[in-house]
């Protein structure tokens, strides 16, 4: 047995799982509410559910956490001082103080101006005692980090606080995003350390002595000590962990992962075991960064999407409502109100922005939020429990068209309950957790508005749901190809083809697509919707077991991945320059530069992978020389650059007898 434990503290639930990696079997799983005030409480509860006398045998613990994301969004973290070299930030960042000092490099890594040590010392002196960490960001520092490193040296000596450099977190160009990444990382240092301390405490209490690793935004794992230095890497790890977990359960290495929830359908892709990464960095708490995160496309279609019948047409989503079958299960008297509507002859009436069978619940109301006197009347009407729109209209003595509830819905004070795909599944009988009776009634009412029979209406709407999901998947794939602006459903030229692909039309010609990858589907309604969707897209479908703890599984089965790139380019003065993540170095001939880059690249991978906690490391260092064609004055090839791509993949697994 090779037991690994995965823990995922998500937005709502903290999931845990113990897996036997030698067989891929889930040994134990558990779910308990996430406790946002103190995540360790939820983790403790979750671990209690995993107890099976395995604690001593667990060899690895992997944690995926939303803590860093939440802390950033909520503005928590330490006081950070920022030193910019040679450029100012264009968007304000969450810092205690900023100093913009002379320094920085040009795009080829030549110093634009010397570092002004006097000014630097002056700034550091003024920061003394006022900050808990320092972020340093130089213009073009990824082309030559010498100034950032010099500042770090001086600052560590003078301030004795941790110093974070932009070039150490990313090798991408983009001063603003790089600076934001460094600042947010510096802010998160104590936040992540506290969490890891208490998790380690909990593990010790249970007698778990295995090493602790943390999931990164790209789905790979890093050792706990590394995560303490680079907490920003652990931001937005949830989606990646879910992709890794879902595909692991399905046994696929290459797959499209479709997660259907109540509100949205999320689509991501896994290639050769690694989630595909968003080309631009992640946006966290409103700040654009260079953080690597899984590329997830989100569409407003899910089990609880609003189904509206308007002017003889059906519209599904993007708004989410409470399924009526669920509302009636919780508040049975609503059934009586809706029966009244059915019998009163008002069932067919047209109401602006609503349907005659809609019901409303009281949502969250923040004290201090101002309400108009009318809004107070509405709230009063619902204080004792939800009611149907016609009931509200009658008891307040206003025409249903004049209730003006939209503003309150948008502010979250009212929650509408209405017809959803979930209700239609209740009619069909394939999913019947809540009240079926109301589903029959409401489907009948909606069908009437289309002059359809009830069963015919249900089939029609559910087929539209399948088409919508299929079309969302295609849209996601098109965006993956780089066509960010293309809106498939909005392109008139595509309409005749899309209609046929989605099976709405068959006249004159047929059109089919065949997805390259199989689909792994998770989420509550996946079993209901996805078989029809994958038939439309002509691909295999896998709905794995244990999918409800996919994130925790993704954490437990993650790998250590280190990536990097070294560029070798011709220098303006002649000769060649190698740009590595830690230095800029000149050479006379290309071969020397490329050999050097490959050698130090390999050393870098070995070092980084070991520090990240990897074993059985497989390393790939690939050199690609890029030439381009010119036709004048003679046909020839000119050398553009040599790209040395670095990749190390390892197992986060202690060798036998090497447990810490």
């Amino acid at each position: 047995m090779e037991l690994a434990m995965g823990i995922d503290t998500g937005g709502t639930y903290t999931d845990g799982v113990i897996m036997d990696l030698s067989t891929g079997r889930v040994v134990k799983k558990s779910k308990s509410p996430t406790t946002h005030q103190d995540l360790t409480i939820g983790i403790r509860n979750c671990l209690a559910g995993l107890d099976g006398g395995f604690w001593k045998e667990i060899q690895l613990v992997c944690l995926s956490t939303t803590l860093a994301t939440n802390a950033t969004v909520e503005g928590k973290g330490s006081r950070v001082g920022l030193i910019c070299l040679g450029h100012e930030v264009s968007e304000s960042l969450p810092v205690a103080a900023t100093y913009c000092l002379p320094g920085g490099h040009d795009i080829r890594g030549n110093a634009r101006e010397p570092l002004d040590v006097e000014k630097l010392r002056d700034a550091l002196k003024r920061l003394e005692g006022k900050v808990d960490a320092l972020a340093v960001s130089g213009y073009c520092s990824v082309r030559n980090p010498e100034h950032e490193l010099a500042v770090k040296d001086e600052a560590e000596r003078m301030l004795e606080v941790p110093v974070v450099c932009g070039h150490q977190l990313t090798s991408d160009l983009g001063f603003q995003e790089r600076t934001a990444t460094a600042v947010l990382n510096a802010r998160l240092l104590p936040v992540i350390s506290q969490l890891l301390d208490s998790v380690q405490q909990v593990l010790r209490e249970l007698g778990v002595t295995a090493p602790l690793m943390v999931v990164k935004g790209d789905g790979s794992l890093v050792d706990e000590s590394r995560a303490r230095q680079r907490p920003i890497d652990t931001v937005v790890s949830g989606p990646a962990a879910s992709v890794v977990g879902a595909t692991f359960l399905s046994g696929e290495k290459d797959a499209l992962v479709v997660d259907i929830g109540g509100t949205t359908t999320d689509i991501a892709s896994l290639r050769e075991g690694v989630p595909e990464i968003h080309r631009d960095g992640a946006v966290i708490g409103g700040w654009s960064t260079k953080v690597q995160a899984a590329r997830v496309h989100t569409f407003g279609i899910g089990g609880d999407s609003l189904v509206q019948v308007k002017r003889g047409e059906v519209q599904i989503g993007p708004r989410r409502v409470l399924p009526l079958s669920r509302a009636v299960a919780d508040h049975p008297y609503l059934m009586e109100e809706l029966k009244e509507t059915w019998e009163s002859g008002e069932k067919g009436m047209d109401i602006i922005d609503a349907q005659p069978f809609d019901c409303y619940l009281l949502g969250r109301y923040t004290p201090g939020e101002r309400l108009t006197s009318w809004e107070r009347e509405v709230v009063g009407c619902l204080a004792a429990g939800p009611h149907s729109i016609l009931h509200i209209s009658r008891s307040l003595g206003r025409d249903p068209n004049l209730l003006n509830l939209k503003g309150m819905i948008n502010r979250g004070i009212l929650l509408p309950a209405s017809l959803t795909p979930t209700d239609l599944l209740h009619v069909r009988g394939t999913f019947t957790r809540w009240n079926r009776e109301v589903a029959f009634l409401v489907a009948e009412m909606a069908a009437l508005r289309l002059q359809m029979k009830r069963e015919e209406f249900v089939d029609f709407v559910l087929e539209e749901v399948h088409r919508k999901i299929a079309s969302a998947i295609l849209q996601g794939l098109v965006r993956d190809l780089g066509y960010q602006q293309v809106d498939l459903a909005g392109e008139t030229v595509l309409k005749p083809f899309l209609e046929r692909i989605l099976g709405r039309e068959e006249e004159k010609f047929l059109c089919r697509v065949y997805l390259e990858q199989p689909v792994v589907a998770i989420g509550a309604p996946a079993r209901e919707f996805m078989p029809a969707v994958t038939r439309l897209l002509n691909t295999r479908l896998c709905i794995p077991e244990h999918a409800e703890v996919a994130n925790a599984i993704g954490a437990a089965v993650g790998r250590v991945v280190i990536k990097g790139v070294i560029l070798v380019r011709p220098a303006a003065e002649g000769g060649y320059v190698a740009y590595t993540p830690w230095e800029r170095k000149g050479f006379i001939c290309l071969e020397d530069a490329a050999d050097y880059a490959q050698r130090v690249g390999r050393e870098y991978l070995v070092r980084e992978a070991a520090e990240a906690g990897a074993r059985d490391i497989s390393i790939s260092v690939q050199r690609k020389d890029v030439y381009s064609h010119i036709s004048y004055p003679i046909e020839e090839e000119i050398f553009v650059e040599s790209r040395i791509s670095l990749l190390a993949v390892g197992r986060p697994w202690p060798r036998q007898g090497e447990m810490r």
Binding site: I107, R108, A572, S628, S631, Y632, I638, V640
Partner: protein, 209 residues
């Protein structure tokens, strides 16, 4: 009179004659736009082509450009005077280390002629300068020219400076010059390439549409 006469005079590099004919055309109420497009630019297109094929030499090309400028001086006030809204602002220059500016100036002239506001930075322009001026003038396009295989790679530098400053999505980049190919333009991540001044104007319109 026919515009072809003006075209021939441009090709022949006769500034005085071009001036005279242009004035005549204007007196005859020929549309200034048409004079620019159908006479001047048409002429320069021929010049560009002949030069490429070795049928014309540098001094002749320069004379042709001079001839066109002479005519342009008469027409331009009318065109800008009509306050035709500028089609967009373009910052153009020859890259760092490169002093060849004949082709680049032709492109600048053509762009101006077809209604763009052109800011010509001259020769030996550093990547940071292209970006700083484009930023300051709110330009939509940066146009770069390079004639030497050793200076071509500086175009990539400018594109990377745009990335470092977070402006890559906002400012488009077009490149040209005798050794520059479409393949090269794509490799360095430029938004467009044009082999001659006439198509450079089309390219800019396409990019901004």
């Amino acid at each position: 009179m026919s515009l072809e006469e003006i075209t021939s005079a441009v090709i022949a590099g006769q500034p005085e004659k071009v001036k005279e004919l242009t004035q005549k055309a204007l007196d005859e109420k020929i549309d200034p736009d048409s004079i620019i497009n159908d006479a001047f630019i048409a002429g320069m297109n021929v010049v560009g082509k002949r030069f490429k094929e070795g049928e014309m030499y540098v001094p002749e090309v320069l004379m042709a450009a001079k001839a066109m400028s002479a005519g342009m001086e008469l027409v331009k006030p009318l065109v800008t005077g009509q306050s035709i809204p500028s089609k967009g602002t373009i910052v153009i220059g020859t890259v760092k280390g490169d002093l060849h500016d004949i082709g680049k100036n032709l492109v600048a002239m053509m762009l101006e002629g077809s209604g763009f506001e052109v800011i010509n930075l001259g020769v030996d322009v550093a990547p940071e300068r292209f970006v700083a001026v484009a930023k300051e003038k709110n330009a939509q396009i940066i146009g770069m020219s390079a004639l030497l295989t050793t200076t071509m790679l500086c175009m990539k530098d400018t594109i990377e400076v745009l990335k470092e400053e977070g402006l890559r999505d906002k400012i488009k980049v077009i490149v040209g010059g005798a050794p520059v190919s479409r393949d090269f333009a794509e490799e360095i991540g430029a938004d467009g390439f044009a082999p001659d001044a006439g198509s450079a104007a089309d390219l800019c319109e396409e990019i901004l549409s």
